[in-house]
């Protein structure tokens, strides 16, 4: 019913998903190791391929190692805004006459920057003086000039042409997503249309044009309202996450703070693209009815021409150890909810594999400890789930447990029932049967994950990007199988402690009169 929705992979629904379900390897599917064909271009781009000839279709997942963690203060939301801008075309696609268009865009940017600055200044001054903001003559004149230029630029635009070309050629599932660690561009096509993909994507890796920039900023603001400002869960997780991470970029919402989004500029966006979108920061996974040799030739012929970019800047900020419980409330006209997070190491660390087991034992399925206790037996909660790698995996992250109380029970009752179960993890070893269930479930998930071209492409590109190799999945199952009941007790005792936790509570609040509308200028 809606058009395409570009999802950001931040955790509103944080049920395991890719990580918990897929982390442990394809050990039971011995053929996968042989079926993945790797190719690395001289410019550093990585290509992963799996042949599946059941139907004449192909799924492509292009993943860049860039996301919210790469943003600076004052420029939050930039990674996501660039992802939107990447659909605006290139010097050849999306335009009627690039040369003439560029001249107009340059002038538009100059006026737009000036207008942004003056409007912010005037709004700030009006606020200081306690007056309502009325644009000065000067600003009004800039606004008129801006509108003229924007209309003029619009005359050169062929709207959404890249998407149109994909759709005409039978493409389905065209989408993109921005997360903390990675940004992904996906499409499925009839198998013989792969050259169209290579032509379009290599063009946008080399020559994107940031047309319709100011309008897209407005679109992203609407996305923020939809996903966060008007969403009880969206707001709960934004606040919860920024409370848990006070230094590290994981605490910043991927969609960006509203005031930052409205201050983003074409220049900053262009610089971000140049820094992070080189072929050396890209992995493409292609799964379906393909002939790998031909695919390699095609990719060399297209992406191979693009020079490598300088290595991306290192991330230096580390989250200091948490020394004391942090609690935060979010008031909303909605029924209550609860999120509890514990700092922990990320993938690759020995203790992370123990958390995979804890995650499954606590919330996977209706026989899991938290579901059977809180939902089925005590009837304190309507739902409970957990995520062992929130909100990303490139840096130490959180083990999160989230629950909604079943009225008339309260979040406080649910919270203490959860702590009882966490204490049990520390004092009683998990049973052999529980452990067997975990491994059976992981093995079956891995077989099932091979059912879908797009799912497999997604996993391969994901681990290649965040773990440095898609083979991570081959090794993880063995690491999980080696976890002992004593490991679970030790890890629970070490990490699931009060000083290490952050608790976010959604508190019901009756609706009140409308707050003043956000000070946004619609363009």
């Amino acid at each position: 019913m809606i058009g395409i929705t570009r999802v950001r992979t931040i955790g509103v629904v944080i049920l395991s998903g890719m990580l918990a379900a897929a982390a442990p390897g394809y050990a039971e599917s011995p053929s996968l190791a042989d079926r993945v064909i790797e190719h690395k271009l001289a410019n550093g781009m990585t290509v992963l391929m799996v042949e599946r000839h059941q139907a004449p279709i192909v799924s492509i997942n292009m993943t860049f190692g860039v996301g919210g963690v790469n943003e600076q203060v004052g420029l939050t939301g930039l990674a996501h805004l660039y992802e939107h801008m990447a659909f605006k075309g290139t010097r050849t696609v999306g335009t009627r006459d690039y040369e003439r268009e560029q001249a107009v865009l340059d002038e538009l940017t100059t006026v737009g920057n000036e207008l942004d600055r003056r409007e912010r200044d005037e709004a700030a001054r009006a606020q200081m003086e306690g007056k309502s903001h009325v644009a000065s003559q000067e600003v009004q004149q800039l606004q008129r000039r801006f509108k003229e230029l924007q209309d003029k630029a619009g005359e050169f635009v062929v709207g959404n042409e890249m998407a149109l070309l994909y759709q005409r050629h039978g493409g389905v599932g065209l989408n993109a997503s921005t997360g903390k660690d990675i940004t992904r561009y996906v499409i499925s096509l009839p198998a013989n249309r792969l050259p169209l993909w290579a032509a379009l994507e290599s063009d946008r890796m080399a020559h994107p044009v940031l047309r319709e920039f100011y309008k897209e900023r407005g679109v992203v603001m609407e996305e923020r309202r939809l996903r966060t400002d008007d969403s009880p869960n969206g707001l709960l997780y934004e606040t919860f996450t920024s409370t848990a991470f006070q230094a590290h970029q994981y605490g910043v919402p991927t969609i960006g703070w509203g005031s930052d989004i409205m201050a983003l500029t074409p220049a900053a966006t262009e610089a971000f693209f140049k820094t992070y979108y080189g072929p050396n920061n890209a992995t493409v996974a292609i799964v379906g009815d393909i002939q790998p040799k031909e695919v390699i030739a095609l990719i060399e012929q297209t992406f191979g021409k693009i020079p490598a970019a300088p290595p991306i800047p290192a991330l230096v900020t580390e989250e200091p150890p948490q020394r004391g419980e942090r609690r935060v409330e979010i008031e909303f006209d909605a029924e209550p909810a609860l999120a509890i997070g514990y700092h922990k190491p990320t993938i690759g660390h020995p203790d992370d594999f123990v958390f995979d087991v804890i995650d499954e034992v606590l919330t996977e399925g209706v026989t899991s400890r938290l579901y059977s206790t809180l939902v089925r037996d005590k009837r304190l909660a309507a739902s409970v789930l957990s995520d062992t790698n929130y909100p990303g995996v490139r840096a130490p992250n959180l083990f999160v447990i989230a629950a909604t109380p079943l009225a008339p029970h309260t979040t406080a009752e649910v919270e203490s029932a959860i702590y009882e179960e966490l204490e049990r993890l520390k004092t009683e070893p998990i049973s052999a049967k529980e452990f067997e269930r975990v491994l059976n479930g992981l093995d079956a998930d891995l077989v099932r994950s091979l059912r879908s071209n797009s799912g497999l492409a997604s996993q391969l590109a994901f681990y290649q990007t965040v773990a440095g190799t898609w083979r991570y999945v081959l090794n993880a199952r063995a690491r999980i199988a080696a976890v002992t009941p004593a490991d679970v007790q030790r890890v629970a005792a070490q990490y699931l402690t009060k000083p290490n936790r952050t608790v976010g509570v959604l508190v019901k609040k009756a609706p009140d009169k409308k707050l003043a509308a956000v000070g946004e200028v619609a363009r």
């Binding site: 058009g3 050259p195 290579a198 031909e294 089925r376």
Partner: protein
């Protein structure tokens, strides 16, 4: 309900049967090679000029059998992975709910899965399934019920026994019935939390009327009145082998599977299966325009603008579907997306939808979420774009793009054995011919600009538009005043 509209709405376009298609694997290899040759340096520099032959594919055909008790079975083997999936469509549904027990069908489906069977307690069912990493789900919708088993090949026999047991002899253990009721009540308590949930449900009521099976909702009273005996009776009255279509796909051999199915279902006797009948909407309920709002403390207005429309079997359906595709059904390619999102930057999610079934009047609507200050402009753009569809023919390019997108994405209808079988089950359940999708495809390819305009003129009706806005109430009544007399819908508290 499913076919044409779902895929159009996603911008994907339609599925189709493919008797006319030719030989599979080696043809494909040839086509891929041919395309690479065509896409030499020159073409790779100019994506606009790229041309490819339509992918031809002869997907495997499922076998159809009928057991002695009337259960229809589709079988399609697929040996790539050691998994078996069994899907069942059941002739039941919430259209059968008594007016004072709305929610009965939904709760029956849920408790069939959770309430144990004649031979196993609820806990035993859950423990064993999870130990086997097998999944059984059962759910009853408006016009049908569905049940599925997803199991590793090595556990097929045991999985099928449990699956058949739950379908045939559910125990509806009292504690699990109570739990299902509590969960349903919590769902009611939470359903006004988000504006997106409110706007969808209230718009259905605005179009069909609040007591119609396509719009009515559970209430605290209706859920509380449902007893275990009600669930037992609803199951006994509506779940019969001759009302079930089974689709079996995966890693099995036919003879062995048939023996297992006969063992599981063979001695289940026929019952009386009702034909799905959904009452027509009273003419007065939907022939006129209306403007309504719901006050919710939000920064965005959630908009739905539309009216009831044709059934899937109406002669104009395909033309209406393509008109809707061009107007707002095809995401990036559509007029509403380009106008409201790309050119004006007023919404993240915007488009139109056509939802039709063979049983019931369908819904055609335009939708968006936008900040309060641009609400009026977005509704104006809805109306203007609708009028343009009525008053001018679409362009040659738009019609060509819609047809190409449809024909070229057609192959995605056959991505797996389970999707092939699911389609056949759907068509048979709805009483449509096996080549229904081929018929639709033939109609799409033949559509002219006149056909599209005629469909838009007849079926996008400005006098019947019903406008619903959920958002900041005080301001909304003023913003919407230019579209007619504005009235508020007051939501009863749910908790």
């Amino acid at each position: 309900m499913r076919r044409l509209m779902c895929e159009l709405e996603k911008g994907k376009v339609m599925r189709q049967a493919a008797r006319w298609m030719s030989c599979p694997v080696f043809v494909l290899v040839f086509l891929v090679q041919a395309s690479l040759v065509m896409a030499g340096d020159l073409a790779l520099d100019n994506p606009r000029a790229m041309r490819f032959p339509t992918v031809e594919f002869n997907p495997p055909d499922a076998e159809r059998l009928v057991l002695d008790n009337g259960m229809v079975v589709y079988l399609l083997e697929d040996h790539e992975l050691p998994l078996v999936t069994i899907n069942a469509t059941l002739k039941t549904g919430s259209w059968l709910d008594p007016a004072d027990k709305v929610g009965l069908a939904g709760m029956t489906g849920a408790a069939m899965r959770t309430g144990g069977s004649a031979t196993m307690s609820p806990d035993e069912v859950d423990e064993e399934l999870e130990q086997l990493a097998a999944t059984i789900s059962i759910g009853f919708g408006k016009e049908s019920g569905s049940a599925s088993l997803d199991v590793l090949k090595k556990d097929l026999r045991r999985g099928l026994q449990i699956f058949a047991d739950l379908l045939r002899r559910p125990a509806f253990e009292q504690s699990r019935v109570e739990l299902a009721k509590l969960q349903a009540l919590e769902g009611i308590r939470r359903r006004q939390d988000s504006p997106g949930s409110i706007v969808g449900r209230e718009f259905a009521k605005l179009l069909y009327g609040p007591t119609h099976p396509s719009a009515r909702e559970t209430s605290v009273r209706s859920i509380e009145s449902i007893t275990r005996e009600d669930l037992v009776a609803f199951h006994q009255q509506t779940v019969h082998p001759n009302g079930i279509i089974l689709g079996v796909t995966g890693d099995f051999d036919k003879a062995g599977m048939l023996a297992l199915l006969r063992e599981a279902f063979g001695d289940w006797s026929k019952g009386v299966v009702p034909a799905v009948t959904i009452p027509a909407v009273a003419a007065s309920e939907f022939k006129t325009g209306l403007v309504r709002f719901v006050n919710k403390d939000t920064s965005q207005t959630h908009l739905r603008v539309g009216h009831l429309t044709v059934k899937e079997t109406h002669p104009d359906y395909v033309a209406v579907a393509i008109a809707n595709d061009i107007l707002g059904g095809s995401s990036f390619r559509s007029r509403l997306f380009n106008d409201v999102r790309t050119k004006r930057g007023l919404a993240y999610s915007v488009g139109s939808g056509l939802r039709a079934s063979v049983y019931d009047e369908g819904v055609w609507l335009m939708r968006a979420e936008t900040k309060l200050s641009s609400t009026q402009e977005v509704v104006n753009r809805f109306v203007a774009n609708m009028e343009r569809m009525r008053n001018e023919p679409v362009t040659d390019a738009e019609l060509e793009e819609a047809k190409e997108a449809y024909v070229n994405s057609f192959v995605f209808s056959f991505t797996s054995a389970s999707s092939i079988v699911a389609r056949l089950m759907d068509l048979e359940y709805d009483g449509l011919p096996k080549d229904w999708l081929q018929q639709i495809r033939d109609k799409v390819v033949k559509l002219t600009k006149d056909d599209i305009q005629r469909a838009a003129k007849t079926h996008f009706n400005p006098d019947r538009l019903r406008i619903l806005a959920v958002g900041s109430g005080d301001a909304l009544s003023k913003v919407l005043a230019s579209f007619g007399e504005v009235k508020e819908i007051t939501l009863a508290p749910e908790s």
